[in-house]
């Protein structure tokens, strides 16, 4: 086993004192013109972007009760200040959820509240200008939208909603982030975030089938685009090549195989991780979600099962039905969608799986604070 420097277990977490500005330099690469345009945003910073950003903010608030209530309700009690892993890990106070929100709230107050219009310094209101935009770009991309802060807020204020809105506003004025926006473009045209076309996907799955056979001596199939299968499995494309994600996919295949379930992957919807959520773009998120619907219809499946990924599962569980439903063409006896762990748990309960605990007993496991609540 690898050698680890194991941190000492402390009875109470230690909260680091604030260090102003230590993460101000940190920011992701900017999206290129074609990344932006491909998913419906301006290619570069537009003229009069300050006003456009403020207008977009108003539009978003008018259409989201969450934003409206959250922007009004924060009392600056400080309950969230030590709850964000970005703060605990960096000590930069702008990584405290309330301070991150205030980057947005200060602008909202300036243009949309009486106090901010007439007494800006009293309530910490700021004009939308280049320095604000730079701070937005830096600190709104230092949020993984896990929603841990919202669990602890007495009003349930969810910083993820605010950072999504900020990213949507920045995209709308031509300031996008490369990683997400390039990936969304790929997923919308090719079908997955990695940009693996159907032949590459088929080849990868064939390789995995061989690996399983070599390892276990059992022929386990990994079907792709098989019409008439019962289950459509939608899993993050990282499962197709990255370690240890690929072990997950191999596991799913083994489970389906032993339970005798008929299943298939789809090349059209070969991605569970819907990056439309990260950039707060309802339209892009919906386009990606609709690919799952299209694949399910095309293949004539009865059920949809999602592979493991915290953020993917949030979109699948909470949003899929809204974005791409109703799914009345599927078997109503199964939840839509189902998580692969739900499927597996159910099979274990029914003794449909033969498990060998000794197969993995060389590993030391730990729980990870959830990627997304």
């Amino acid at each position: 086993m690898a050698e680890f420097e194991t941190p000492a277990l402390r009875p109470y977490p230690e909260i680091p004192p604030i260090e102003i500005g230590v993460m101000a330099h940190s920011k992701p690469f900017y999206a290129k013109e074609d990344h932006q345009q491909k998913i419906g945003f301006p290619g570069e910073l537009i003229d009069n972007w300050q006003q456009a950003a403020v207008d977009k903010m108003g539009e978003l608030v008018d259409n989201s009760r969450a934003l409206r209530v959250f922007l009004d309700s924060c009392v600056k009690c400080g309950a969230c200040t030590d709850k964000c892993h970005y703060y605990i890990g960096t000590s930069d106070p702008k990584n405290m959820p309330v301070a991150r929100q205030d980057l947005f709230r200060s602008v909202y107050r300036r243009y949309y509240t009486l106090a901010g219009k007439y007494f800006p310094s009293l309530v910490g209101a700021r004009d939308m200008d280049q320095s604000v935009l730079d701070e937005w770009y830096s600190y709104f991309h230092q949020c993984s939208q896990c929603r841990r802060c919202s669990v602890y807020c007495p009003y349930g204020i969810d910083t993820a909603e605010i950072s999504m809105a900020a990213r949507e506003i920045m995209d709308s004025i031509g300031v996008g982030q490369k990683y997400c926006n390039e990936i969304i473009g790929k997923a919308q045209t090719i079908g997955n975030n990695l940009g693996l076309p159907e032949p590459a996907l088929a080849d990868t799955l064939e390789g995995l089938e061989e690996d399983i056979e070599d390892e276990t001596g059992v022929t386990v199939r990994m079907p792709l685009d098989e019409k008439g299968a019962d289950i459509l499995l939608v899993t993050p494309s990282a499962d197709f090549f990255a370690e240890p994600h690929v072990d997950g996919l191999i596991g799913y295949a083994k489970v389906f195989h032993q339970a005798g379930l008929s299943w298939t992957l789809s090349s059209h919807a070969s991605e569970a991780a819907n990056f439309g959520m990260f950039i707060g773009s309802y339209d892009n998120m919906q386009k990606l979600a609709l690919r799952v619907r299209e694949a399910a219809l095309e293949l004539g499946v009865k059920r949809i099962v999602f592979g493991e990924c915290g953020h993917a599962w949030r979109v699948a569980y909470n949003f899929l039905n809204t974005l791409a439903g109703p799914f009345d063409f599927l078997d109503p006896n199964y939840p839509l969608p189902q998580h692969v762990c739900e499927v597996t748990y159910d099979l274990i309960q029914r003794n449909a799986l033969r498990l060998d605990p000794s197969a993995n007993d060389d590993m030391v496991l730990t729980f990870h604070d959830s990627c997304n609540v």
Binding site: I18, K83, N321
Partner: protein, 245 residues
């Protein structure tokens, strides 16, 4: 009528109108703004009664805050509960005859005022002493505490140091309510107390005090966790149904 009486009469009508109209406007806005997606925070109840239970404990015991930070919870909860009793106690100045349960809670309300001010000082101390909370505080956050502490201290002063003419005060407020205006007694503590109360009423619908109605409309807390069973639609009907749940 003295200038003081005219000023306070107009001030309280103005403050009352601003508070009422401002809150109605804001609450209407919360209620009618759509909820595009379902975003309850885990662990979320899967039924409507479950949501009622969650909201009840959230609003009365500040559940999430308790999980979050024991000091803020302690000071915040003490302040809010004490404020509740203090406000209920004050109903005696607006009702004639005084409702019996209002008479009954008078002793609690009287001592709650101390707890209220203590809670406020606790919160203020955190705002000044904890580096993280100091960092996020605006002048308005300190002013709000100053205003509430001022109201509490002048109130306590009238109760325990120099009594004011409470019969005349009651006559003034009943006069306001029945449009039969009565003189406002000239008493510095009383006049300051009431001036600050009127200011609080006026800033309420424009400030962070909106957390009071806001908490009931927070989608992460009041939504039912059943997106697979029931397709969530961002319509007004869905929205209205949820807030009543």
């Amino acid at each position: 009528m003295s200038l003081l009486t005219i000023a306070f009469t107009l001030l309280f009508y103005f403050a009352g109108a601003v508070l009422l109209a401002g809150l109605v406007y804001r609450i209407r806005l919360y209620a009618t703004t759509p909820t595009p997606l379902r975003i309850p925070t885990t662990p979320a109840p899967t039924t409507a009664p479950g949501v009622v239970r969650r909201m009840f404990f959230e609003v009365t015991l500040f559940n999430s805050l308790f999980k979050s930070n024991k000091w803020i919870w302690l000071f915040g909860w003490i302040f809010h509960m004490a404020l509740l009793f203090v406000l209920l106690r004050h109903l005696r100045y607006f009702t004639d005859p005084v409702w019996s349960w209002v008479s009954l809670i008078q002793p609690i309300g009287k001592y709650a005022a101390f707890a209220m001010v203590a809670g406020l000082f606790g919160l203020w101390a955190r705002r000044l002493l904890v580096d993280r909370v100091r960092y996020i505080s605006s002048p308005s956050d300190h002013l709000m505490l100053a205003l509430l502490v001022g109201i509490g201290l002048t109130g306590l002063g009238m109760k325990y140091v120099a009594h004011t003419d409470i019969v005349a005060v009651k006559a003034f407020f009943l006069g306001l309510m029945y449009f039969d205006w009565q003189p406002m007694p000239t008493d510095l503590a009383l006049n300051l107390h009431l001036l600050m109360v009127a200011m609080l009423m006026i800033v309420f619908p424009f400030s962070k005090l909106l957390h009071a109605p806001g908490v009931f409309f927070s989608p992460t807390r009041n939504q039912i966790d059943n997106p697979r069973e029931k397709r969530h639609l961002p319509t007004r009907e869905t929205a209205a149904g949820e807030t009543s749940a």
